[in-house]
Symmetry: C2
Subunit: 187 residues, 2 copies
Amino acid sequence: MTAIRKWKPLHSQLVFDNQWCQVRQDTVELPNGKIIDDYFVHIRPDIALVLAVTTNQEIVFVRQYRHGVGKILLELPGGSFDPQVEDHLTAAARELEEETCYVAQQLTELAILYDNPVKDTNKIHLILASNAQPTGKQQLDITEAVEIELIPIQDVIGKIASGEICVSGTIAALFLGLDHLAKRSPS
Amino acid sequence: MTAIRKWKPLHSQLVFDNQWCQVRQDTVELPNGKIIDDYFVHIRPDIALVLAVTTNQEIVFVRQYRHGVGKILLELPGGSFDPQVEDHLTAAARELEEETCYVAQQLTELAILYDNPVKDTNKIHLILASNAQPTGKQQLDITEAVEIELIPIQDVIGKIASGEICVSGTIAALFLGLDHLAKRSPS
């Protein structure tokens, strides 16, 4: 039993409210009784992150420009969704097809992760997409330019160790996915 | 050579500016010539994330309340720093000692990761802290309440697979750290 306790929320106010960016200012009471009136939280949509394995035992990656850090990075496909409108498996299938044109025979949720549980509200749903094939239709958003890259499963760990794959969520997903696939495969 | 190109920054403005939360609104030109005038970026400080291995071959974890998602989570110790004021190794040693009272004999940078390169500006410096011992002094911030947990190296993968460890950066750090330690140890 942990001695760590949750904070008690006293008041919450949206202090920046735009279609693409929402910031909440919370007043909370800490377990030691102290009151903090300026704890900022970024309200972000849930993400479906897709580890798609092709029928040739490759993993489907996307290379994209990422404006937060100003770099072109290699990541797993994925995107945001509204759980009120579609479930996480439907969102994963949609994002995979829209970004890469790949369609999977089977979708399985492997884990729920958090990228930044300190400041962000959102969950990352990690979905394994098995037996994926390029039979769908790529449909990119206005801000998206995507290069698809297929990497054989056995080459992925080297690309993490070398730093070519450097986004936490993608690395965590590969760790969980490769562990899951290793346990499932006949020895 | 990738065909993906960076966006061209045209204008940038701080639209929310508080000591604890800064949001920038960028106007950018996409490679297809389109102009976007409402791309929001969260300016966040760099993080030193510490994978500390004790002299007994355990990893030092911290259990803390995380207000963004409202949960008590098990993570690696770490915290933010200003690269203008201290370097990443000094920051890692300081954060490790302040949060856990552990002091390491050797600090090595294993990787630079990104938690959310789409929306956030910051880097995560992953530091391996070797031969750590509880010889320092714990000094917590006002908002911090931390439970220290030592987990034997061989038990860590099970806690990731079970979902008990569920923060992307911590999982990515463990993946890279365990891979590094396995390559370094005599077979």
